[in-house]
């Protein structure tokens, strides 16, 4: 900003009281400016602190404690040959053949009985999958790395039950108990043991929910925006539609949850906590966002485009669908993506319609019970165990990564296709 330059007489300017007043005013100017800078920096610092806290916790959440030891399948008494492993029920066969016991015995031999008793109940499944993938392993010895129970994992971090801590320390020294990156976190589903949980079930639920939301909210939103901006006559009806849309954009999300609970679940009582109902509820919430951004995008297409089309004989519908809509599309898509990002992070309405149940298998369709990513975060955040704290942060990082990708896509679209008329 340029310094104020008012003509001042020489005698005034020499007055020491004037100089003091001016100095005071400039000091207060600097102070005000610093306050403003402070406010902006504070917001940035909070964001940085939030992200650093979540990331530092999440690093542990993407790992899990595993016990490593060799298993000699050739020497073990598995009553099974390689041919049976090709059958579709090979997992069940391996289970009845006593694979779990074989693992525990091998673990006892290598790391001691106490450590072997802390091998996770789900460990045999992972070994079984490896055997099914490569049946020849049955004839040889294999170095396996299996998850341990939550107690031993906590002991490895120096927490948890006292009696396990020395064991964990000594096993870690020998390199038998290690905390390893856990790719399975992205492919497993909810469980009661933080060592065995994964995010895939919730992620798939979120993807299905978002698909329903997009399929409903996008066409309805775009068509409403076209109607209101291009065709609607000035009438009481139009005013009512406009007021409704503006109000819906401001209604708290939990109210949409109440609507979903009392209307959608009343119509479809069998689809409680299904992505279909969740998607319908979120679509009602997202639709006004799409309408409002769509109207702005349509408004910014210059009238000369419409006049040109009409002048060469296009009908009003052809003008809009062949010329206005394609030109407004980048703006509409940007608004849609931002609306979808908001819907992806939304939790409260999904809690209302019952998507908070414990669901241990990924949903296999739009109507099967499911969880969603933000709801999963909420459910895990209620667990007290330290393992879940890390897993929750890891899930948050996954959610934030998706949101960042969506917003990045919106910004890219805006920069690439936006036309300034």
């Amino acid at each position: 900003m340029s310094e104020p330059s008012t003509p001042i007489s020489a005698s005034q300017a020499k007055d020491p009281r004037f100089a003091a007043r001016l100095k005071k005013r400039y000091t207060s100017e600097r102070r005000f400016r610093l306050l403003g800078l402070g406010a902006v920096v504070f917001s940035a610092l909070v964001l940085a602190f939030l992200i650093v806290t979540m990331t530092s916790n999440a690093i542990g959440g993407f790992k899990r404690a595993e016990l490593r030891f060799p298993v000699d399948f050739a020497g073990a008494a598995l009553t099974l040959d390689a041919g049976q492993l090709a059958a579709p029920d090979a997992r069940d066969k391996l289970k009845t053949a006593g694979l779990a016991d074989v693992i525990v015995i091998a673990g006892t031999k290598s790391a001691g009985a106490l450590a072997a008793s802390e091998i996770s109940d789900s460990a045999w499944g992972e070994v079984a999958d490896r055997l099914i993938g490569d049946p020849d392993l049955l004839k040889s010895s294999l170095e396996v790395s299996v998850p341990v129970t939550n107690d031993l994992a906590a002991a490895l971090r120096g927490e948890g039950p006292e009696k396990l801590r020395p064991l964990a320390a000594s096993l870690a020294r020998e390199g038998k108990l290690v905390s390893r990156f856990d790719p399975g976190f992205l492919s497993r589903s909810d469980a009661t043991d933080p060592q065995a949980v994964g995010i895939w079930g919730a992620l798939k639920g979120s993807i299905l929910t978002m698909a329903v939301t997009l399929l409903l909210a996008f066409p309805i939103g775009v068509l409403s925006a076209l109607y209101l901006e291009e065709y609607a006559p000035r009438s009481r009806w139009t005013d009512l539609i406009e007021v409704s849309i503006n109000n819906l954009a401001a209604v708290p999300s939990i109210i949409f949850g109440l609507l979903g609970l009392s209307v959608f679940l009343w119509i479809f009582p069998n689809y409680r906590s299904a992505p279909l109902i969740g998607g319908m509820t979120l679509a009602l919430m997202t639709m006004p966002v799409i309408v409002i951004s769509g109207r702005n995008a349509i408004k910014s297409v210059p009238p000369s485009i419409r006049d040109g089309a009409l002048a060469v004989g296009a009908s009003r519908v052809q003008t809009v669908f062949h010329h206005v809509l394609p030109l407004a599309m980048p703006g509409i898509l940007t608004g849609t993506i931002i609306g979808m990002a908001r819907a992806l992070g939304e939790t409260a309405p999904l809690l209302m319609i019952g998507m908070r149940a414990f669901v241990a298998t990924p949903p296999d369709g739009f109507t099967s019970p499911s969880s969603a990513l933000p709801v999963q975060i909420f459910l895990w955040s209620d667990e007290v165990s330290r393992g879940f704290v890390e897993r929750t942060s890891a899930a948050i990082i996954v959610l934030l990564a998706f949101l960042l990708a969506l917003n990045g896509l919106a910004i890219y679209l805006r920069n690439k296709f936006e036309t300034r008329w």
Partner: protein, 464 residues
Amino acid sequence: MSPAFPIILAFGLGLIGWLAARARARTFRSAVRAGGARRMHSLPSYHGWFVALAIMAPALLFAAVWSSVTPGMAEADALKSPAAAQLPVFGFQRDSILAEARNLASSPDAAAFNPIARQIAAPMRAAHKFYGSIGLVATLLIGFAAGALAFLRLRPDFTARTQVERAIMVGLLLASLIAVLTTLGILASLVFETTRFFSMVSPGDFLLGTHWGPDPMATPGANVGVDYGAIPLFWGTIYIGAVIAMIVAIPLGLMSAIYLTQYASAGVRRWMKPILEILAGVPTVVYGYFAALTVAPAVRDAAQAIGISSASSESAMAAGLVMGVMIIPFVSSMADDSIAAVPQAMRDGSLAMGATTSETIRRVLIPAALPGIVAGVMLAVSRAIGETMIVVMAAGAAARLTANPFESMTTVTFQIVAMLTGEGSFDHPATLSAFALGFVLFLVTLALNYIALRVVKRFREAYE
């Protein structure tokens, strides 16, 4: 029989109709070109769309209605079968057996724990198959009849485009009516359940009572009203959302807006604006977890360090602080808009008189933009009181009338979640109270938004 079959069939018929009608219209066109016939009114593809729409509209409507009524009819048929006589007459067990049977009927290898379910599933599956084939045949007939009628109307001078465009206009109008329907749906469901609630608890007890302690499991007695005094909830909501959060958000948001619009260089603005946008885009469940995991323990320790022994690990302060941070970008962008709406001449005049930038901002810009800023704050308050996840995760469940921000407090949104996520029955006043609370919340946010938008509108007009 999957309910998707009739829908796929309708689309298939529509495609066939489109191709046939377009081919027919093309023969018209070649006749026109050869001379003799009159001029075509519409392009061939519009003839195609006319027939396709004429087929798909009734067929899809029928398929949707049919697939929503048949499960009920199949169940009724199955209940007439001899196996159904063993069912418990009513209650939870009957519902769970029927649910299992429905599962079995749609996928035969689903797990079933009850033998009766397996017996009922067989007639149910047969009924499903029966009604499914009827639906398929009926969809086919309806689509064919409608298509034939439409096809017979095709002439070279048939106004296919006008008809199709009329259908498009109807579609546009219907789409925009969904918003009105949603608003009506919200109002209707809230009013309906709230009326039921007020038939059990008097509105006076609810709005003026000071004790909140519903028990969803207890049988409601005669004097049920004493447990449903919502004043502590309203107080907690206002204290967290409109007091603590605003003490954080208003100064920080306003100063950010002032700095970014009046002082910051273009480079700083280019970096800081997206950061504020990211802050606004973080999901509330993440803020809630941040509040519960990091902020709440820090607030408790700080309070205990200055000698407040009653400080709890779930406090109004923690929830309010984090909510305030969440609202900063919102206040900032509202203040940004209203400051930008003040005419440049007013600013220039003040600067020309020798005022410094900060004097201009404080004495000229902010007073001139005040109506817009106040409206922005009202919108921010309406967002804050409707915010759910932060208070659910950080504010606590105890309904208290206290001004001590370090104690746990509960809010309207927290209680809505608490009342509806339990196992309570839909006839219990505790469950219904959630709808009454939702209704109050809906009305308050609506009023705040309405007033704020009016203020903004009048303020804009004043400077135009």
